[in-house]
């Protein structure tokens, strides 16, 4: 019998018997139970595990079939591994809040950097909004957010950097605050190029029925490449690395910062 971490002496010591199955241990850690099953997970998110679990990069020959049915985002496959075996595995991400979501024959689109892991019963596809991934089907996935996720209903306008994702509603459109951009700051910026872009002059606008997921942060989590769709007419960002969706020929509005603005996730 271990004498360390005995009950009553500070925080609880967990072992495989007391850890939850496919649920949060606390706000920042999620425990996945594997019973000969598989989970897709992003590299670098496993902090510890009990049992015998194997991690294989996507592309491991044996996994071909699984990948073909559940993973439709081949161009960032190098960021993902498949965990399989039996045991309990703890997932976390930079001490951000971690939550699991259950989809029942549903769809949810999420910023790629926020997605930690998902069950293979869901299929993962690239959203046509650059930098976002869509999960479709029935199953559980785990996502991180800077601060707890806040659920809002449309109509709403959102700072692009505070957007975690959206479910069941049409893709967002851009909203520009012309009053702001043509005002003092916009004018200064157009002349000097200083100041950068901020959410007050440009938002994602959601209308219709659905749910919008927000995080309380404007510090983006590291952008995960979602790959580039093939170059073909009618595909936004097709063939252009970095997902530059906006046409190069579009007239630039005053206050718009071109590449900088795009880098800010707009």
């Amino acid at each position: 019998m271990s004498t360390y971490g005995t009950p009553g002496a500070g925080p609880v010591a967990h072992d495989p018997m007391t850890l939850p199955a496919d649920d949060n241990v606390d706000h920042y850690t999620f425990c996945v139970e594997l019973k000969g099953t598989q989970w897709f997970m992003q590299k670098g998110k496993m902090i510890a595990y009990y049992g015998s679990i194997e991690f294989n990069g996507i592309g491991h020959g044996r996994l071909d079939r699984l990948v073909r049915t559940s993973f439709h985002s081949p161009l960032h496959a190098s960021d993902w591994v498949v965990a399989e075996g039996s045991g309990k595995m703890l997932l976390a991400d930079r001490a951000f809040d971690v939550n699991s979501y259950d989809l029942e024959d549903g769809n949810l689109t999420i910023r790629s950097g926020n997605l930690l892991a998902f069950q293979p019963s869901l299929s993962l596809k690239q959203s046509i909004v650059p930098g976002f991934l869509t999960l479709i089907g029935t199953g559980k996935f785990v996502a991180a957010s800077n601060g707890p996720v806040v659920f809002m209903e449309p109509p709403i306008r959102v700072d692009p950097q505070a957007l975690v994702g959206w479910a069941d509603c049409p893709s967002p459109c851009h909203h520009y605050d012309h009053g702001y951009m043509t005002g003092v700051m916009g004018g200064l910026r157009a002349m000097t190029g200083l100041g950068g872009a901020s959410g007050e002059e440009h938002q994602f606008e959601f209308v219709g029925a659905g749910t919008v997921l927000l995080q309380s942060s404007e510090a983006l989590m590291a952008e995960q490449a979602t790959g580039t769709p093939p170059q073909e007419p009618g595909v936004p960002g097709g063939g252009i690395p970095g997902g530059q969706g906006q046409g190069a020929g579009a007239p630039r509005l005053p206050g718009q910062l071109g590449d900088l603005q795009r880098r800010f996730g707009l």
Partner: protein, 210 residues
């Protein structure tokens, strides 16, 4: 007396006694306090040698006085550990405050260090008293027993207690659709009897990429 003012601020009530704290971690105090710089690595010749080796990574100060002193460091979560004669092994950069009466030293942990770059050395804390260790997000205590060995990502390891053996293992094979590298990631496997403190975050590791 150590108490948590919040999960990220440690309050120490002092009546003439002293504590050892990470340099620069005092955020506020009332009463009268004196601060004195200490060198890491423990006392005596051995301490001197380890100090030389570690490049004084662990710089501690002694705080002594009457009143309440508040400690915090970069918004890290603080975990209190009570020691009754046993030894606590903690990644040097995660030590915030210990009772003045606890002995601190440095041990060489080459295995884990090799994968981390930043932590060739682990601080050992021994004796009777309290220690406050830091983690990025609240640390989880995971029990290790004969029946349940534990595997930990080096970047998430914070501290451990007990009679544990550590070994390195490579747990991952990366082979992607793109045919990119067959890289491997390293993990630490703990066996024996004890507890491991793990944080919900990963320091940058060279090889712990899972």
């Amino acid at each position: 007396m150590f108490r948590l003012q919040s999960s990220k601020v440690l309050a120490v009530d002092m009546t003439g006694d002293a504590v050892k704290a990470k340099n620069g971690s005092m955020v506020a105090y009332d009463g009268e306090m004196a601060f004195k710089k200490l060198s890491g690595g423990g006392e005596g010749l051995r301490g001197m040698v380890t100090r030389r080796l570690t490049g004084e990574q662990m710089t501690l100060m002694e705080v002594k006085g009457h009143g309440t002193c508040f400690f915090a460091d970069r918004a890290s979560e603080i975990n209190l550990v009570g020691l009754r004669g046993e030894t606590l092994y903690v990644e040097s950069s995660n030590l915030l405050v210990t009772d003045g009466g606890l002995r601190t030293g440095t041990t060489f942990t080459g295995m884990r260090g090799a994968s981390q770059g930043n932590g060739l050395f682990t601080t050992t804390i021994e004796g009777h008293g309290q220690a406050a260790i830091m983690s990025d997000g609240p640390a989880l205590l995971l029990r290790v027993s004969a029946q349940y060995p534990l595997t930990v990502d080096p970047g998430a390891y914070v501290a451990h207690q007990g009679n544990l053996r550590q070994s390195f293992q490579s747990g991952v094979t990366f082979r992607t659709l793109m045919g990119e590298g067959g890289g491997e990631a390293f993990q630490i496997r703990f066996e024996g009897d004890g507890v491991v403190y793990v944080q919900p975050s990963e320091r940058n590791t060279i090889a712990g990429d899972v």
